[in-house]
């Protein structure tokens, strides 16, 4: 992102923080598609994407006034989305322990071939084989987040992020290739 767009974004965030509804709406519209794609990469379920995206943006609307550095809005928003997805998957896992046979509580990935082509199915399958936190890490990288930003999001060091990323990429590649062959 260049300097002028960061300035524009920062200004828009400040307007939204001052209670400008139009600016808040602009922020949602600008990021809704990226956040939805990010959520889908982590959860692997298209039927929960819109609900989760709504949760993320409602949290954003309610917490935006507390964001001290408007220039860091984007990385803050993706952190919000990442945490919301991880919490959602954790809650689903807990529900499955107590009601293991309720179909509505199952978080099974969508059947392969049900939505798109082989290439996408292979990636979805590979992602479903790795831990949600690693999926989130890979999705953050795909969204253009820097290693430093991810380290700050996860509360860890850049070196630790690089190591985890390397492992996650390796695992993804293995599952991706095994599914393709």
């Amino acid at each position: 992102m260049d300097e002028s767009s960061t300035t524009t974004l920062g200004e828009r965030v400040r307007r939204a923080q001052r209670g400008d509804d139009a600016a808040m709406r602009e922020l949602i519209v600008s990021y809704q598609r990226r956040i939805a794609g990010f959520i889908y990469a982590i959860t692997g379920r298209s039927d929960s994407v819109e609900d989760l995206a709504q949760m993320v943006f409602v949290k954003m609307v309610r917490a935006l006034s507390r964001l001290k550095a408007p220039e860091q809005f984007e990385s803050w928003l993706f952190r919000l989305a990442r945490n919301t997805c991880i919490d959602h998957l954790r809650r689903q896992k807990l529900r499955r322990i107590f009601t293991p046979f309720a179909p509505e509580h199952e978080n099974l990935p969508e059947p392969e071939g049900s939505v798109d082509g082989e290439e996408l199915d292979a990636l979805r399958h590979a992602l479903s084989q790795i831990r949600p936190k690693d999926r989130a890490l890979l999705a953050l990288v795909q969204e253009g987040r820097s290693h430093a930003e991810i380290a700050s999001t996860l509360g860890t060091s850049v070196a630790a992020v690089k190591a985890r990323l390397h492992r996650a990429r390796e695992q993804l590649r293995q599952h991706y290739q095994s599914n393709e062959t």
Binding site: A36, F38, Y40, E50, Q54, F57, V58, D116, L123, R124
Partner: protein, 90 residues
């Protein structure tokens, strides 16, 4: 470009396509709806706390003033008894 990069793009597009028209307006409505009950609950909590404090002050005041009255009455009774004794002695 890695083989999975194209798939990533398609994956994100697939997720993005789940957002239906009017999403931003729904979010803003939901945020306002969530905020209102919280505000009401906040005021209810404040009112309950204030009522509790007022009740405690009134209870304390009633007890303290009751004790003071009883002690004053006892004092006056004693003085009256002493005055009566003195009158009889004279």
């Amino acid at each position: 470009m890695k083989p999975e990069d194209h798939a990533w793009t398609r994956l994100r597009e697939r997720g993005a396509s789940e957002i239906s028209p009017g999403f931003a307006d729904r979010v803003l409505r939901a945020a306002r709806a969530e905020a209102s009950p919280l505000l009401v609950a906040h005021f209810a909590m404040c009112a309950a706390t204030a009522a509790l404090c007022l009740g405690a002050v009134l209870l304390y005041h009633t007890r303290v003033s009751g004790d003071e009255e009883a002690s004053s009455l006892a004092g006056w009774s004693e003085i009256a008894a002493q005055a009566s004794d003195l009158e009889q002695g004279i």
